[in-house]
């Protein structure tokens, strides 16, 4: 954990130190993100759990902040961090009768991208593609089915595509779609022990504004 955070810290420091600052090498962005999941689980297993027990995972909306540094006129390194949204899960399959919101968790999910921006600085429209990785930590986990729930942290790839529209040489608008790899093993401990592993398969849709300097 610590070593990974250190890796990120070193990356950010390197990013800030890279090259002398000149016009429009830095951009801060903020926007609204819809975090949609397309989760698949291994099914819920445990003592007394009927075969075919499952859960579905819902979507969430939050605010995202990103910082991007252009390393070349076309290549930028971007780190994105959202205000942790709460995602909720509903019982499904043979235990669907247990209803909705059987589990909720705050998702802390920073992502790092290396983006390629098409066109040139000064273009009004600039599409971009990025690849990178994301780290997801589940916090404030609560369940109506068990007093203690733990979920493993997730590291996985991340990929995004977006487009920016320059209003002037400082301000622009952007929209992007990202796919992330987020998997977690869940252990719920109460009267008995329930287990599942969840592949969230999130797709995020973001729109927002950017300020370059």
């Amino acid at each position: 954990m610590t070593s990974r955070l250190q890796t990120i810290a070193v990356a950010i420091a390197a990013m800030l130190a890279a090259g002398a600052a000149s016009a429009q090498e830095n951009a801060v962005k903020f926007g609204v993100v819809e975090y949609t999941t397309h989760a698949e689980t291994s099914g819920i297993t445990g003592v007394g759990v009927p075969p075919g027990a499952d859960a579905t995972v819902g979507n969430a909306t939050t605010v995202v902040f990103t910082y991007e540094r252009l390393l070349t006129p076309n290549i930028g390194a971007e780190i994105a961090l959202g205000i942790p949204p709460t995602i909720k899960a509903n019982a499904a399959g043979t235990v669907a009768f247990l209803g909705s919101d059987v589990l909720s968790a705050k998702v802390v999910a920073p992502a790092f991208f290396l983006n390629y921006h098409f066109g040139a600085i000064g273009d009004t429209w600039r599409p971009y593609l990025g690849i990178g990785f994301n780290y997801t930590r589940f916090m404030s986990i609560e369940s109506t089915l068990a007093p203690s729930v733990q979920m493993s942290d997730s590291w996985g790839w991340a990929a995004q595509g977006g487009i920016s529209y320059a209003i002037n040489d400082k301000w622009s608008l952007f929209g992007s779609i990202a796919a992330l790899q987020v998997k977690s093993n869940l252990v719920a401990s109460g009267a008995t022990v329930l287990q599942t592993s969840i592949n969230f398969r999130p797709i995020t849709y973001t729109i927002g504004a950017a300020y370059s300097f």
Partner: protein
Amino acid sequence: MNKSKSWGLSLVVALLVAACGGSDPYVPGSGSPSGAPTTKGSFTAVVSFGDSLSDLGTYTPATVIPGTNPPVYMGGKFTTNSATSTIWVENLTTSLGLVITPAAMGFAGQSVACPIAAQVPSLANTCTGYGQGGSRVTDPNGIGHSTGALTVPVVTQIANHLARFVSFKSTDLIFVLAGNNDVFVQFATFAATAAQVQADAAAGKLTADQANTALFNAQTVALAGMKQAAQELGGYVINQILAKGGKYVTVMMLPDFALTPFGQSLPASAQPVATALSQNFNLWLRDTLTNQPVQLIDTLVFFDSIAADPSHYGITNMTTPACDAAKISVITGGAVTDGSSLFCNSTPGVPYNGLATGASATTWFWADGVHPTTIGHKIFSDAVISQLKSFGWI
């Protein structure tokens, strides 16, 4: 381009770090005991705590045949009783060249501690068989208590041993086999709730989802009861046996109660609950005893393997109780109607023989709904002996 190259490197490094993945949460019950002895014991006593499966004849006085003098007892152990019928604890003790007798005998408020001491004073230290039919882990109000069974709970059985012998010895071979009666009590509570829920659902007072949720909640309550019993039993093993000198300690996990004739007689929808209660007890018992210096014997695996291939063990009937409830009812003058093997005698030719026509104490596995016959006990003690050998203890 140099910059992007170094960034590419950083990304690769970060992804490599990422590939390690997040650490998985601890799963209760996934550990094992550790640190039990690995050397042969110089055993001078077998000390057994538990319930009817380990009962050496606590309730024998209740099985006296009316009008006999000197008294003749038709039963006393929860098996196919006869002059030569022994249960697993006795088989195992005999194989070690030792003797074990009941720690108490009595019924309906009467109880004599260490009855062998009055008859054979030289055997006064052999009354270390504490198991009693109906006993629970902690609750003194065991099964049959209201109708006279002593049902001294395991926590008190251990306390009684410590009161008499002060501590355990490193030469004691100690067995703990308990929790089955907690399963039965929790199951009975669940079944009563389930019957009410189903009646309400049938009457239209509950929707299907509400009924299913109520059943799930009732099951959760029963599972929590089993968790509590398992954690309490594990705690007694740690604090009252290991901490008081116990060295060679074997703790049994429960068999699957759904596989017994009684379990099989339950509605198909209830059998998974029966299985879950036993499994949940085992899960939390294992969890409580993780890294403790005991040996666990998984009787669930043992009974499953017999059920899967009875003929391998010389068993021709694995499903029907050998004792005949109607015969026992006649023999006891209508006092015992549930076919309890406590009153079941298998001696050929005697008028109080309670075996069903064609049944056998040597080829049928079950004596009644939940207790093994004489051969069932022999197969079990053989398995335990083999386990003790694999531990290196004998």
